[in-house]
Symmetry: C3
């Protein structure tokens, strides 16, 4: 068994969880925050038998969309130039999903 | 060292954490949500020396109870039959604990 | 790639995430609670290429401070002595960071 730790956008998380349930896959949802944009996102824990991983990856790929997000950078913290700093919004492409596949040595259910 | 990632029911989490503390085991609690029932549950991170794992498993097994939960399924999303859909409550057995044991390559404390 | 699961104090988490971003490292923040003190803390997921781990550890070590925390232990749950129990505050040293390094078998981005 492997544990997929998938960081996805909030906008896709409900449909993703539904699709996983419909296909008989189990998951646990954690509310999280992105380090760069400081915006809320979703971290899903998905324990999957090894041979099912390609199928689960397909479901994630199909549902999770990359999106452009306009971000207004804050003035650099502690810089002297704060008064004259004119922040221009920049476009950041946020990926659909960032997935870490980790080996599960033992899976136990009580 | 191994990291136990244990999903348990909210009802058992306080007594479980207390029992771990009483036995000298450390843990970190994350609020989480079940993919199927969409109900709140608890995900515990428990870093444990290899030889202590059987003892920690016993504590989890002793405290975490399986429970029947009545669930009223929602009408299938997007189906035409929503008006004539009479949801019957179904009984779902929620296990006491779902545990992923993951190898820790390095454990560092500052 | 490795996944660093780092439990740090809330007080250091903002400066730590900023410093990681400034150095080009990505992270995802989860709100968490300590098993012993039951106080809020921060669990960071940091996916890092193997050769970058020493650098990331240095950043965490530099930013995350150990702190003494005064704790007033609760009367032992269920003990008869609750009325005559005079809790003395005890000092607990909370470390700057507790870090689990876990191997990532596969890293996928959509
Ligand atoms: N230092 C930097 N400079 C310029 N642009 C930067 C940057 N750090 C991040 N970005 C951009 O901002 C998007 C959102 O990052 P955030 O950290 O809020 O939200 C991230 C974070 O929560 C998580 N994530 C991505 N890589 C990670 C890693 N190696 N470790 C832990 N979490 C990661 O996935 C979310 C989406 O990441 P994604 O890469 O698709 O999308 C990223 C990336 O396009
Ligand atoms: N492989 C895995 N990966 C990640 N997290 C996992 C997991 N297996 C279990 N979990 C976590 O543990 C909770 C309890 O699972 P359990 O299997 O005991 O109890 C489950 C099971 O008896 C039932 N169930 C789950 N998925 C089902 C499905 N597709 N069809 C029918 N029953 C399902 O509903 C109960 C509650 O499920 P819920 O998802 O709300 O909550 C789950 C989920 O948060
Ligand atoms: N093996 C492990 N697995 C999972 N999470 C871990 C862990 N080791 C540490 N943590 C996490 O890191 C936080 C800080 O731990 P630290 O050992 O620096 O600082 C600890 C330690 O100095 C002390 N402490 C913890 N358990 C104790 C116990 N049973 N008896 C006496 N002191 C304890 O209280 C401080 C705060 O502990 P708290 O549990 O609130 O918060 C912990 C917990 O959230």
């Amino acid at each position: 068994m492997k544990l997929l730790i998938a960081v996805v956008q909030d906008k896709d998380s409900i449909r993703l969880i539904e699709s996983l349930v419909d296909n008989g896959y189990r998951s646990t949802k954690l509310a999280s925050t992105g380090g760069f944009l400081k915006a809320g996102n979703t971290t899903l824990l998905i324990g999957v038998e090894d041979e099912e991983i390609p199928k689960v990856m397909d479901i994630i790929k199909e549902i999770c969309q990359a999106r452009e997000q306009l971000v207004t950078p804050m003035a650099p913290v502690g810089s002297n130039a704060v008064e004259s700093y004119v922040p221009y919004p920049i476009e950041v492409l946020v990926g659909g999903a960032t997935i870490f596949v980790v080996d599960v040595e033992k899976f136990v259910r009580f």
